[in-house]
């Protein structure tokens, strides 16, 4: 770790301004609620949407952050792994859930020919829970297999290459993946999940709970906790960090770097696949651009949090998720991403290594 020039004054100033801005906005929020311009129910639903958004961004961001720090490149094919997971997982869910209700071709191609409509098949967590759960697992497994295959074919040849070389290669992988999916499934976007079932709890303060959204929230939280435990209490976490620090030394220490890389792909792509599957469960719509369109936000979250820190990635996701939703109180919807990016830039100027510090590649 080389010394860096310290230059606290500008940083402090920025931090102060940023803090001031946040305080002012919070006060304004309170004011709006008080004068009744912003009903509490709307505020809370904006916040809740923010949290839901940040959960699936976060799920995908963990994987991206891990490959970023351990393989030392910005993986632009991560978004398309999300897409692959979504298509793979839902295909399996359709194969199981649609038995008898639709033809094999329609099920295999996820209703590409309009022959297996989600509503008719009852594709919901209540309608065919088994299919949905098996699909979830399949999404993870399938994405992992794809990611490992790509690693063997592509990234393994590039282990000693620089970050940019890998980045460009990953863009190549991204294009190939996305359009292979397009060739198979066609580019039509379509709804593949039936209407979300609701549960109306008697004893909770909320009126009704969207069970698909709840499935997403619970699975995401469980997976995040699981990954945390895995990295905290096994050697794997440490060897990953060691590898991201200094690969040659890690080799010399006896760490099988290939095995760590494999583990990284398994965790990272597994989470990405699950994220893709769950996003579709919540949104119902599936398109080949699913992951690609999300990638920018995921990158923003990872870098905002500090590359290589999974807690940073989660914190970054939370900031991004809440910003794109809560900012609607003040600005029009077509500028909410502007707000998210602007906030990200300000935070990075205040904390140049991201919220949780981190490594760098290029």
């Amino acid at each position: 770790m080389k010394e860096r020039v310290e230059d606290p004054t500008a940083q402090e100033l920025f931090g102060f301004l940023l803090l001031l801005g946040i305080v002012v906005l919070t006060l304004d929020l309170v004011r709006l609620v008080f004068v009744g311009e912003l009903p509490v129910s709307r505020l809370s639903s904006l916040l809740w949407n923010g949290i839901v958004d940040s959960l699936y961004i976060g799920l995908a961001a963990i994987g991206l952050s891990m490959t970023y720090s351990i393989l030392r490149f910005a993986n632009f094919s991560h978004g398309d792994l999300i897409t692959v997971g979504a298509f793979g997982g839902w295909t399996v869910a359709y194969l199981i859930g649609g038995i008898g209700a639709a033809g094999l071709g329609s099920r295999l191609l996820l209703d590409a020919d309009g022959g297996a409509r989600a509503g008719d098949l009852g594709m919901s967590i209540v309608g065919s829970p088994l299919a949905i759960v098996v699909g979830l697992i399949a999404a993870a497994v399938f994405t992992i297999l794809v990611a490992l295959a790509i690693d063997r074919l592509v990234y393994k040849q590039l282990r000693d290459a620089g970050g940019i070389t890998l980045l460009i290669a990953s863009v190549g992988v991204a294009l190939a993946l996305r359009y292979i999916v397009a060739i198979i499934y066609t580019q039509d976007s379509r709804g593949v999940v039936a209407s979300a079932p609701f549960w109306e709890p008697a004893y909770l303060p909320v009126d009704r709970i969207n069970l698909h959204e709840m499935t997403l929230v619970l699975s995401a939280v469980a997976l995040i906790v699981g990954v945390h435990l895995l990295l905290q209490y096994t050697k794997l976490g440490k060897s990953m960090r060691a590898m991201s620090d200094n690969r040659d030394l890690a080799l010399v220490t006896g760490i099988s770097t290939e095995r760590v890389i494999t583990a990284t792909w398994i965790i990272g792509s597994g989470l990405a696949g699950v994220a893709g599957y769950l996003i579709v469960l919540d949104r119902s719509q599936i398109t080949i651009n699913l992951g690609w369109f999300l990638l920018l936000l995921i990158f923003a979250a990872v870098i905002l949090g500090g590359i290589g820190s999974i807690y940073g990635a989660l914190a970054g996701s939370l900031v991004i998720g809440i910003t794109i939703n809560l900012s609607l109180v003040w600005i029009p919807a077509d500028l909410n991403e502007v707000a998210a990016f602007a906030l990200m830039i300000l935070v990075l100027i205040f904390k140049p290594d991201g919220l949780f510090g981190g490594v760098e590649t290029a």
Partner: protein
């Protein structure tokens, strides 16, 4: 015994008096990293034209002191005066341009530049460092002549450091010791008034080490001043007029090598009872 008490850091206010013509003066320097106090009220001065040694156990705060002097770190307290000007907290480039240049303990070569480019980067006041002069045909003036001069100097420097055969090699491909040499060559090429050398000899082959020291003496005669961090006591004892000993961020003792050598505190803290 009595000499050594006289030389301890107890009487900080006397620092100035002990040095007749200080080129560099450090007063009450503090630097903390979180809970770790790396430099803790260190004060010392370097006589103009001298080779002053800065020694102390590992982690005593020597490199951190260097970083504070050269603007890489911002001291939490105290002052640094160079050539009569207070330079505390100035940016690294301003300090370097004042003629105070340092080398790094862990060599920091510019890996994807050739060795020659590394050295040619050093010299101050290069005309072509302005973007306009490097581009505009008329404003270019003497840029090319100057470049040729710099090139010739650079080759000489490399020859002296015995790395001229590597001139066109990328610096990142050098061996550990070669990097150290390059580091030193580059710092020298800036033609500074004073050089801060952080363990320049660590990893350098003994024969070359002697040559380097001779060169340092030559330069000293030309009026350069040196502050030298080194763990090789033979080097310190033989080549420094004055030695400052740091320990746990403070100046433990200072004085001529002979005194330091027999200072018991120093022996206990640093020299390890031997010698």
């Amino acid at each position: 015994m009595s000499e050594s008490t006289q030389a301890t850091a107890g009487e900080k206010d006397t620092t100035e008096k002990r040095v007749a013509d200080p080129v560099l003066q450090i007063e009450e320097l503090d630097k903390r990293f979180g809970g770790i106090v790396a430099v803790d009220g260190a004060s010392f001065a370097v006589e103009r034209g001298s080779i002053t040694g800065l020694i102390g156990p590992n982690g005593a705060g020597k490199s951190t002191t260097f970083n504070c002097i050269t603007g890489v770190h911002r001291p939490d307290g105290g002052s640094v005066v160079f050539d009569g000007t207070d330079i505390t907290g100035e940016s690294p480039e301003r300090i370097a341009n004042r003629g105070l240049v340092r080398t790094f303990q862990i060599a920091r070569e510019l890996p994807e530049m050739t060795v020659l480019e590394n050295v040619m980067l050093g010299p101050k006041g290069q005309l072509g460092e302005s973007i306009w002069r490097s581009v505009a045909p008329i404003a270019r003036g003497n840029v090319i002549e100057q470049e040729e001069e710099l090139r010739d100097q650079a080759w000489e420097t490399l020859e002296f450091f015995e790395i001229d055969h590597l001139a066109e090699e990328y610096a990142g491909n050098l061996s550990g010791g070669q990097r150290k040499l390059l580091e030193l060559a580059r710092a020298l090429s800036t033609d500074p008034e004073m050089l801060l050398l952080d363990e320049p000899m660590a990893g350098v082959n003994p024969s070359l080490e002697r040559k380097l020291l001779d060169r340092i003496h030559d330069l000293q005669e030309e009026g350069y001043s040196f502050l030298l961090v080194e763990h090789d006591m033979d080097v310190i004892m033989e080549h420094c007029e004055h030695v400052v000993v740091m320990h746990q961020g403070q100046v433990l003792a200072e004085g001529p090598p002979a005194t330091i050598k027999s200072n018991e505190e120093v022996i206990e803290a640093y020299l390890g009872g031997e010698i």
